[in-house]
Symmetry: C2
Subunit: 209 residues, 2 copies
DNA sequence: GTGCATTTCTGCAATAGATGCAACTTTGCA
DNA sequence: TGCAAAGTTGCATCTATTGCAGAAATGCAC
């Protein structure tokens, strides 16, 4: 029960391979396009057997989200640590902003490629939406944790509202090529509207005892 | 330019075939499961050639949404007709309720099957989310139409909020086996929260001149 | 009714993603 | 050093999906 301190050589090698696959894949996607790149191509570029690809990613589509998934995992961990005395509403706002930061800042070498692919391929867009939906589920759980006894539907509505708003604003910004600062400004404005709605749910605004 | 009055024999036959394929597919999905049913099976049951399947549906996944897509098309048409003097906010509320009705009332012979499949297969869930996203885009356009000059981000945020809320509440209700009346009650409650947020956007609440 | 133009349907072949399986290698640890 | 667990690989297979070209059906004009 001590995996954090020493990830272990095996684990580190695995991470490196995962990274190598993702890098090779994204590079090829950028060069020749998504459908034009086969699993075999990626495997060759990453120096693994084609069969091994599926030991690291469940599907070709998932490799596009490798980096994003890592970042979201960090956000998730951070969301679990709530400063004492924070209201649920504040925790949600912080979560929204963290997710946004994870998605728009320091996009890594292939950030632009990922965004373009997701905007252009419906299948990839669907996978991205699915990830947002998972995020919504987690926000919903967090809201339940923070506000024991909150009305069932209120928790669902509030998290759906917040994540739905985040998702539509982000998509809009990307589709119109907003830079990071403009995205932040847009989300600030959007959050104001969302919070007006959340203000009407008393349970969200109570200071924890 | 007159397709409404007389759909034409050809067109009607096409609709019947489409229906036959969808029925056969859903029946098989219910009987043996989704992955266990191949395109060849569906074609055999619908008495068409396997190749013809793809003339009617772009993919196996889409056949699950055949009925839902038809209903959403109707809603879309209805949404275009706005009673004079209605505010944008009212139009949106009406749209939300219409979409919900389309999705929960009179689900047809295989409604339960469709819901179960979507809840259980991640790939199908992704496609469902994609449809919701399309709906959001349309709501966004409608908002722009109804409120010329509305702030760009406001329009995006409001539509994303509303559709995101609808989507999460619907999913929650289905996952917990709510009956239609309970779903309506839940969405009413959720809409109240959303509307509190929308109330803070002046452009939405102006009566059209 | 006949003939033509258009649309639809079908069969064939090929591609590529995904999965199960079993053998083979590498790694972690005693 | 040697064993057990974990990771890789090759192979076979299945199935969705697409392009293509010919066959068949349909709508319309004459």
């Amino acid at each position: 029960m001590h995996h954090v301190a020493t990830p272990g050589l095996r684990e580190r090698k695995k991470q490196r391979t995962r990274q190598a696959i993702a890098d090779a894949a994204l590079r090829l996607f950028a060069e020749r396009g998504y459908e034009e790149t086969t699993i075999a191509d990626i495997a060759r570029a990453a120096d693994i057997a084609p069969r091994t690809f599926f030991a690291y990613f469940p599907s070709k589509e998932d490799v596009v989200f490798a980096e994003i998934d890592d970042r979201l995992a960090e956000v998730r961990a951070g969301l679990a640590r709530r400063p004492p005395g924070e209201t649920a509403l504040e925790t949600i706002r912080r979560g929204m902003l963290d997710v946004m930061e994870a998605l728009v800042s320091a996009p890594g070498e292939y950030g632009a490629v990922q965004v373009r692919l997701v905007l252009e391929r419906p299948a990839l867009q669907a996978r991205a939406l699915q990830r947002m939906h998972e995020t919504q589920q987690e926000v919903e759980e967090r809201v339940r944790d923070l506000c024991p006894g909150i009305d069932e539907i209120d928790a669902v509505a509030v998290s759906g509202m917040a994540v739905g708003c985040l998702q539509s604003v982000l998509t809009h910004c990307r589709r119109h090529g907003f830079e990071a600062p403009a995205v932040r400004a847009a989300l600030d404005r959007a959050l104001e509207i969302v919070e007006r709605g959340m203000a009407s749910v008393p349970a969200l605004n109570e200071r924890p005892g």
